[in-house]
Amino acid sequence: MKSIVDAPDSLFQPNNHEKSVEEVDQVTIRFAGDSGDGMQLAGSRFTSTTALFGNELATLPDFPAEIRAPAGTVAGVSGYQIHFSKSSIHTPGDQPEVLVAMNPAALKANIKDLAPHGLIILNSDTFTEANLKKAGYESDPREDGSLQNFRVVEVPITKLTREALKDLDISDKDKDRCKNMFALGLSFWMFDRSLTPTLEWIEKKFASKPEIAKANTLALRAGYNFADTTELLPVHFKVEKAELEPGTYRNITGNEALSLGVIAAASLSKTGVFLGAYPITPASDILHYLARYTEYGISVFQAEDEIAAICAAIGASYAGSLGITATSGPGMALKSEALNLAVMAELPLVVVNVQRGGPSTGLPTKPEQADLFQAMYGRNGESPVAVVAARSPVDCFYKVLKAFQLAVKYMAPVVLLSDGYLANGSESWRLPKVSELDPIEVKYKQTLDNADKFYPYERDEKTLARPWVKPGTPGLEHRIGGLEKEDKTGNVSYDPENHEKMVHFRKEKIQRMKADIPKLEVLGTDNPSDVLLVGWGSSYGAIYDARERLAKEGIFVHQTHFDYINPMPSNAEEVLHSYKTVIVPELNLGQFAFILQGTFAKKVIPITQVKGQPFRVNTLVKRIKEILGK
């Protein structure tokens, strides 16, 4: 059996026999409940245990939109999805096969995502008339046939939890808070997982509140034992350990990985990092995280707005620090004028855009890849910047390091694109040794050497970088600014030929970065194909899985992924021109497809989706087949 949904109905029939354990390749489970139901916690505990057990995994939380909605409403539902497997994993799972729904609203909000024949475990105590109404149900879904396509297990979780804790001397509210542990215990049984890591965690977490610790422990065990004995659950499932590369692992979100990358940059460069930021969803966590690690040489500056944030970062870069600023789309729009100053001043600067749904305020908590045009073209004049995109949560760590490397080596701004999906999603990370990481070589110019005069716009022959001078360096005093500069001297110049020269220098400098970025890799080449799937950013995993699924159906396509959009890898043209059909799936209306067509004048076929959601592998498979006429 590959997946739970493949299990024959018979397995779910209550019986008196021994409970069976069925092996499956992979599972996607989603915990969903009211914002106050502790679903993020349940999800992350499940994740930990699963990781310790040795599965590959990826996760995705689904927070309610910004404002706390009234309890019991669909708008207030909070979810957490985990995809775990015995083989390698590239997404947090398309459609959950198991849904744990703590109230009617959670059911309502998530049922449309559940795979057909999926398993629903619901807290039947909450299916009161009032709650059904709050959730917007006109009839009880348990009774009106709307769930007939699924396997439903109703558990009176509230009642059972209260019962388990009845002897404890804590408030009813505190008892009810333990419902998530009951659900978790039940889920652990469902997937044959050990309770030990969670029990240890409870011990530590509630060390100072022994009654609460006890309550959580009892609820967890109660859930497990209930599942083990009840007739409602005749079957449980097992996912074998994955064959993982040896090493130490941790589970990490994209925003955490990015923040760690920034901290690593400070260490690897032996230079201070300066973060200028203004809070904005879904980038704020980078600010929060880095503010806690200033001892690593990170100056954190919460500015009055996004403009001040980038300006301060530019000031810091000018002063010799590694300047970085992190934001999302609307903030990126505000930064565009100042980013152009960095282009003109030729200072190293990293600008992170954690993309969300647009335009305007748009869908602040939802992912989208629609700020690519803005990153490439959103400024006045000929204004080239490097554009790098992360493909997975863990990749955020490596890409921000790379962004700093490029920025410093070429004295140029680098835009790093992440998105809300990577930012909050997590996956397991085989941790690198610090000694394996590439250094960031910072070389300030410190003396005149043998020159007659200091030339702030004299360029390195290879990289075209101008010298980086820290104010405070004697003898190299100079002035820079946003007006066009004279070649070499950096003086203000309105000379026509000089302007054209400088425009080309700035463009060429970014192109020279090709020397420092890897070539495009093509995946799936075991079988020949004249179809190439081209992706960028966070859709990597979905495209990967789609390709593999197609291969299983005997449809062979190749895949390549652009981590670097400006400049493009040096073999980009060659790779693209080797295929008859080039398909570009992306979460926008075809921006990268347009860029490829504009760059290579080669027709490509976009697959677009703008729903504030990542691609489903299913959708991709279907759309690719349509295109290929299969």
């Binding site: 930990s48 990781a51 993982l244 590369e245 040896p246 130490t248 692992y249 941790r250 589970n251 760690l260 901290i263 690593a264 260490s267 201070g272 300066f274 200028g276 806690r292 690690y293 200033t294 001892e295 690593y296 040489g297 100056s299 500056f301 500015a303 009055e304 707005d305 403009i307 001040a308 300006c311 301060a312 530019i314 000031g315 810091a316 870069s317 000018y318 002063a319 010799g320 620090s321 300047g323 004028e337 100053l341 001043a345 941790l431 690198p432 040794k433 610090v434 820290k470 104010p471 405070g472 004697p474 190299l476 005093e477 100079h478 002035r479 820079i480 600014g481 946003g482 007006l483 203000v492």
Partner: protein, 335 residues
């Protein structure tokens, strides 16, 4: 030992390109004359400006300089100062640059008490773009953009600074060379952000706008040179003074009627901003315009605070160890 500099050491080889007669020249001179007296190595000075005639200033200083974008110099300067606290950072800005597009950055630089010095060249007009109304242009004044009279009430730069919780505010003028130098020096020695309004004549687009205050013939009756700890006396014959009445209002009084002891004594360190606000508010003809340092109170600077928390962090946290940090949290090992 620091070299003994002269004014010339601070002049760059860029040709100075303001209009003949522009007040900016004398401000440049005042700065170039003041810096050598501070005993700071030349390379430690950074001049950061926005856009405007005034903002060309850094090109003429043989120090580090950054001519940035319109209105944003205080934000950029904040980054420079945090990244390198050793530098002496000066922001040069105009009334449009600082108070129109850049108002918010002024506000926040001042409230944070970032240890930078902001010199606002107030010519009550947009010079560089050729004569439009600025936020300090008089109500009703005709300019290129307000051919039927400016419909906006002006702001007073020092009001804005006080409203922004500035710890140091002062006013001086292009024509008061010695005074300007004195104020610049006091700004340098103030630990925290400073804000100096310099009345500056734009010879081309707003000529004579400060004549009613600064014209030599009437000047002594139209301005008061405030000095810390001194009673507030002014007038060509030092025959007038300022006192506060029972309703809490400033009054100009004649020293024939009142004695010097009745006058307010200037206290730059008064934590209460109310009187400083009143002083900043004075305008001829009812009052003399206040010149000099109006407020200079001690408050923690932003840099101190940031470095303090970094230190506290460093003390509380384990010794920074990147590898340890990477391997922190819940990890597991596959063998």
């Amino acid at each position: 030992m620091t070299k003994q500099y002269t004014k010339k050491d601070f002049a760059s080889d860029n040709e100075v390109r303001w209009c003949p007669g522009c007040g900016d020249y004398s401000i440049l001179t005042a700065v170039q004359k003041t810096l050598p007296e501070l005993g700071v190595p030349k390379e430690k000075f950074v001049f950061i400006s926005g856009i405007g005639c005034s903002s060309r200033f850094p090109y003429y200083m043989n120090t580090y300089g950054f001519h940035t974008i319109h209105g944003r110099a205080p934000a950029i300067a904040t980054g420079v100062k945090i990244a390198n606290p050793d530098l002496s950072v000066w922001v040069i800005t105009g009334d449009g640059d600082a108070l129109s597009i850049g108002g918010n950055h002024i506000l926040h630089a001042l409230r944070r008490n970032v240890d930078i010095n902001i010199l606002l060249f107030n010519n009550e007009i947009y010079g560089l773009t050729k004569g439009q109304a600025s936020p300090t242009t008089h109500y009703g004044q005709k300019t290129k953009s307000t051919p039927s009279g400016n419909p906006s009430r002006p702001v007073r730069p020092l009001h804005v600074a006080l409203g922004s919780e500035a710890t140091f505010i002062a006013r001086t003028a292009d024509v008061l060379m010695k005074h300007m130098q004195g104020v610049l020096k006091e700004a340098y020695y103030h630990n925290g952000g400073t804000f100096i309004e310099i009345l500056q004549n734009c010879h081309i687009f707003n000529d004579g706008v400060f004549k009613n205050i600064l014209d030599k013939k009437i000047r002594d009756d139209r301005i008061i040179l405030l000095e810390d700890g001194k009673p507030m006396v002014f007038g060509a014959n030092s025959d007038k003074g300022l006192r506060i009445n029972a309703l809490g209002k400033l009054e100009v009084v004649s020293l024939e009627e009142y004695s010097v002891d009745d006058l307010l004594v200037h206290d730059v360190k008064n934590p209460d901003p109310g009187i400083h606000f009143m002083l900043a508010d004075m305008e001829p003809p009812e009052y003399p315009e206040a010149m000099g340092v109006i407020r200079a109170v001690k408050e923690p600077t932003f840099g101190e605070q940031i470095r303090h928390t970094m230190k506290v962090h460093a003390e509380q946290a384990a010794t920074p160890n990147l590898e340890k940090l990477l391997y922190s949290g819940e990890t597991w090992t596959v063998e």
